[in-house]
């Protein structure tokens, strides 16, 4: 299967996602320039982390206007799997492919460290290899990862089971001090109603090799690889 990794000017985790897909999981991978207008036959699209267009405005606010976002939207609407990681998640929010918004971390500081995540939903193409309740240890690296949705939207998200990962303590229990950025309901990842579009703040591509200090991110890639193999 083929991964398409979108490169915006200012993307900086594009090579990391590409490396994970290609070198760690042995899949085809292609970079897709943001000015391109087709997805080069990608089976799955990754919007990688970084600071697209510098993110001097709201994060992701400029990237939604990049030409490639038209094809990405059409791909998502056809049910194609799309994963937004960190800045990619922010871009999905700004372009309306996922609901809600990002605020600055409640500490007002960028934070880079490993966090614990509890898997809430396994019927997305990016979490199908997990079991509900499994705890993952994966790094974050962001200054604006404080997920926010107004009460009614949040209620709908929860009712539709769209919260995919939550920040927890190492035992999978919700605890304020283990929420690194202040996200409402400790939300770390959500999916679209159709479940094929997933946005997550943690970086699974940074946790695919034991040499890097952990392999819990493999689950995300293994899920999509086996989901596509079945299709």
């Amino acid at each position: 299967m083929r991964f398409g990794v979108v490169v915006f000017p200012g993307s900086n985790c594009d090579e990391d996602a590409y490396h994970a897909a290609k070198d760690v999981f042995g899949q085809d991978a292609e970079y897709i320039w943001h000015k391109d207008t087709d997805l080069k036959n990608a089976d799955v699209v990754i919007l990688p982390g970084g600071f697209a267009h510098g993110d001097y405005l709201r994060t992701g606010a400029m990237a939604r206007f990049s030409p490639i976002m038209g094809p990405v939207r059409a791909f998502a609407e056809r049910g194609g799997p799309v994963l937004g990681i960190c800045n990619g998640f922010q871009i999905l929010l700004e372009s309306g492919l996922l609901p809600g918004a990002m605020l600055r971390n409640r500490t007002l500081k960028y934070r880079c460290e490993h966090v614990y995540l509890r898997v809430e939903q396994t019927d997305t193409p990016f979490t199908s290899a997990a079991t509900v309740g499994r705890v993952l240890r994966i790094p974050i690296g962001h200054g604006e990862g404080n997920y926010f949705a107004p009460p009614d939207m949040l209620e709908r998200l929860e009712a539709n089971r769209q919260v995919v990962l939550r920040y927890t303590d190492p035992d999978g229990q919700l605890a304020e001090e283990w929420n690194p950025n202040g996200s409402v309901n400790a939300i770390a990842a959500i999916c679209s109603e159709s479940r094929n579009v997933v946005g997550m703040m943690p970086h699974p591509e940074r946790a695919c090799e034991s040499l890097l200090g952990g392999e819990d991110g493999r689950m995300i890639f293994e899920s999509i690889v086996s989901a596509m193999a079945v299709r």
Binding site: P9, G10, N12, C13, E15, D16, H19, A20, D23, G49, G50, F51, H53, G54, D55, Y56, R106, T107, L108, K109, Y110, R111, C112, E113, P139, G141, G143, E177, H203, E205, R206, C208, E209, L211, L212, G213
Partner: protein, 738 residues
């Protein structure tokens, strides 16, 4: 020309006379400005050059020594490690966020200018006491600036060091280091050659920011320094990210002759240095230079230090190829001039010559001073240390002293700092900040590089020669503790006003010390930076040479960190303590004293120790390794226990004085943990290498117990100690939101 104008440009009367000799006439104002920046201490190294020439810069591994934008060493597989350290002290004091951010931007440009992909950053920072007014603002600003730039451009900050001393209160130090990887055959230099080749300007527009930044960095500070804020530039990491990607893409084409970033002294420095290196001249027309504001004069344009700008020399006939690549990245490459054969820097404005200066007058023949030196008076006084009087006959409360040291900001955990840095982007980091040397693997190979920056201003204040040797030894030892063989070094020399003989003496002695240590440890200096005039209101900082060392690990998966790995491992001390307390953190923190002689250093023994460490790591004979430095073996042992989920250790060490045995900072000592079945082998290896080695205890339990000469001196729970250590910096910000 008016004497005040000359003085305001930082030029001495005799220097002005030399300018007239070179030109055969009076300079105009633009020319005076150009001379003033090129002859500033910052660009010309006029006080330091005679000393720097004594440093060892060669070795079979060295691909590029000093004189280019960065140094380079071979690391196998046809690859080169390209690296350099640079200071941004003065701008960071005036405007901490932008000063630090543009420091990071500048050093990154130095690396990719060489054709290397930057893959790691480190920094070495010095501030006044954390409880002194203003320090927290400076620390927060500098850290945020480094983070803001590095995180956005996507280069991980994988390590560094921070110390707090009152001597830096009016003059913080911000030294930033960058490492890149290039194919050795693809290294590109900052040369202009080939008559008629096109000179291109790429990147951000030129504004009036940073005019005379280099001159500012060549003067002392006083109460009016805040007025110099317009001389600090503003960084744009996004622009630099585009420049980085576009330049690396252009470098794949072989259409480039040379490239240089516009750092200090901007367009002036890049045009003259490139011309000078290529033995050519450069002619540009400032009317073509993209400008951010209207009404800029040639003087403004030539002296601006606006950030994120590059100067390229492109082969004739290949221009459109280069322009196309920059266009892809939405950058404009503007043709502003040509390479000539007359060795002149010629600046035109709409065709009219507005400045014309021989390149050599600005570079090779810039002033060179052998400044007078004299041992400063304070030394005789501070070297005397009567330990009996200081410590007296009272028993040392070693538990309390250990906790005070662990909770002091210089020794305590720097997590509050490094978790603001993205230290994982590019997915190469295999030893995180806070765990010893930063280590990054090299994708596509089995190798990794270990990086460490170290310096100890207090040691250098007490003995600049030995202090500088100790800095080299510590940086190389940290790299060896990770299992890497030190390959090369870069230095950042932070000192006071060189016009004062005492400061110049410190400088000369420190450079001598660096040279001695680098020769003995076989780590040539491949480049660096000198920052003088670090004084405020006539008070100089501690002389602070900071050394960055790069080492090579043949097998990335054999990397070693400071943490104990398993309960039941033997703890082995390599090297031995020598009852030394001079210049220690213990004396400073517990007795408020900066006195005595810094630890002695036997370079031969140090070299043997480092070779042994590399061999033990390579043969997987040690599970962890941590060097004994600030706070002595007691602090080292505690740090070995931290981040292990509370694993303790039980240790017994020799020693006469309890304080010196626990907290003395004798050099060339490393605490390693070894699997019980490997102990005999490890000890034999040490013995064969002539390194003193002794089993001093074993890991396990949840308490750190240390006996000195058979008597229990320390017994503290790792959980409690780690809490004190972990909050050492954070507690100063405790009133803020968690």
């Amino acid at each position: 020309m008016d004497a005040h104008v000359i003085e305001r440009h930082g030029l001495k009367p005799d220097e002005y006379e030399r300018i007239k000799e070179f030109l055969g006439r009076e300079p105009n104002l633009t020319e005076l400005g150009i001379f003033s920046v090129m002859w500033s201490e910052h660009c010309s190294y006029k006080s330091s050059r005679v000393h720097l020439k004594t440093l060892p810069t060669r070795g079979p591994q060295v691909l590029q020594g000093p004189g280019e934008n960065a140094g380079a060493v071979a690391i196998g597989d046809g690859l080169a490690a390209v690296f350099k350290i640079e200071s941004h002290n003065h701008p960071s004091f005036i405007e901490p966020y932008q000063g630090a951010a543009t420091g990071v931007g500048g050093i990154i440009r130095d690396i990719f200018t060489m054709g290397a992909r930057p893959i790691a950053l480190l920094n070495s920072l010095r501030f006044g006491s954390l409880d002194a007014p203003g320090t927290r603002r400076l620390l927060e600003g500098v850290v945020a600036g480094i983070a803001g730039y590095g995180n956005s451009i996507g280069i991980p900050t994988v390590g560094g060091e921070i110390a707090f001393e009152p001597s830096y209160a009016g003059n913080p130090l911000v030294n930033v280091f960058c490492l890149g990887i290039a194919r050795a055959s693809d290294i590109i230099k900052g040369v202009a050659s080939g008559v008629g080749n096109a000179v291109y300007y790429v990147g951000a527009k030129t504004g009036r920011d940073g005019i005379h930044g280099a001159t500012m960095a060549s003067a002392e500070f006083d109460e009016k320094s805040a007025e110099k804020r317009p001389a600090v530039q503003v960084g744009d990491p996004f622009m630099e990210k585009l420049l980085l990607e576009a330049c690396l893409e252009v470098m794949q084409t072989d259409a480039l002759v040379g490239i240089q970033d516009m750092g200090a002294a901007g367009l002036t420095c890049s045009t003259t240095e490139m011309g000078s290196r290529g033995g050519a001249g450069v002619e540009i027309d400032v009317a073509h230079v993209p400008q951010r504001e209207s009404g800029m004069t040639p003087y403004d344009i030539m002296l601006s230090e606006s950030q994120e700008r590059m100067l390229l020399v492109v082969k004739r006939g290949r221009e459109s190829e280069v322009e196309r690549i920059f266009d892809k990245w939405d950058l404009h490459a503007v043709h502003i001039g040509e390479v000539t054969d007359d060795g002149m820097l010629r600046v035109k404005q709409k065709g009219t010559v507005v400045a014309e200066i021989p390149n050599r007058a600005l570079t090779d023949e810039a002033p060179l001073y052998r400044r007078p030196m004299a041992e400063p008076d304070y030394l005789a006084e501070v070297r005397a240390l009567d330990l009996d009087r200081v410590i007296g006959s009272q028993p040392v409360d070693a538990n309390a002293a250990l906790l005070r040291l662990l909770g002091s900001p210089t020794i305590g955990s720097k997590k509050w700092v490094y978790r603001q840095y993205d230290h994982m982007v590019r997915t190469n980091t295999i030893n995180y900040p806070g765990f010893g040397a930063g280590v990054v693997r090299i994708k596509g190979t089995h190798r990794a590089l270990a990086l460490s920056v170290d310096g100890n201003g207090r040691y250098c204040y007490l003995d600049p020669h030995r202090g500088a040797m100790l800095a080299v030894a510590e940086a190389a030892r940290n790299v060896a503790c990770a299992g890497a063989r030190p390959l090369g070094a870069t230095n950042c020399l932070n000192f006071g006003n060189p016009e004062r003989p005492g400061i110049m003496w410190q400088f000369a002695k420190a450079v001598e010390g660096i040279g001695d240590a680098c020769r003995a440890l076989d780590v040539p200096i491949t480049g660096g930076n000198v920052s003088l005039y670090n004084e405020t209101d006539g008070k100089a900082i501690y002389p602070t040479p900071v050394i960055g060392v790069v080492g090579l690990l043949e097998h990335a998966d054999r990397v070693v960190s400071r943490r104990f790995q398993r309960a039941g491992d033997a703890i082995v001390l390599l090297g031995e303590g020598r009852d030394e307390l001079g210049g220690s953190e213990y004396l400073k923190v517990v007795h408020d004293l900066v006195r005595g002689e810094p630890p002695s250093l036997d370079l031969q023994a140090e070299k043997g120790l480092q070779d042994l460490l590399v061999a033990l790591a390579s043969d997987r004979l040690m599970h962890s390794a941590h060097d004994c430095s600030d706070g002595g073996i007691a602090v080292t042992l505690a740090e070995c226990c931290f981040d292990t989920a509370g694993m303790g250790a039980e240790v017994s060490i020799l020693g006469g004085s309890v304080a010196a045995a626990l907290f003395g900072e004798s050099a060339s000592r490393v605490v390693v943990s070894v699997a019980p079945e490997d102990v005999d082998e490890a000890l034999e290896r040490a013995s064969a290498a002539n390194v003193p080695a002794r089993v001093i205890g074993k890991t396990g339990g949840t308490v750190l117990k240390i006996a000195v000469a058979g008597a229990l001196a320390i017994e503290c729970s790792i959980h409690d100690a780690e809490r004190v250590w972990g909050s050492a910096i954070e507690r100063y910000f405790a009133r803020r939101v968690a």
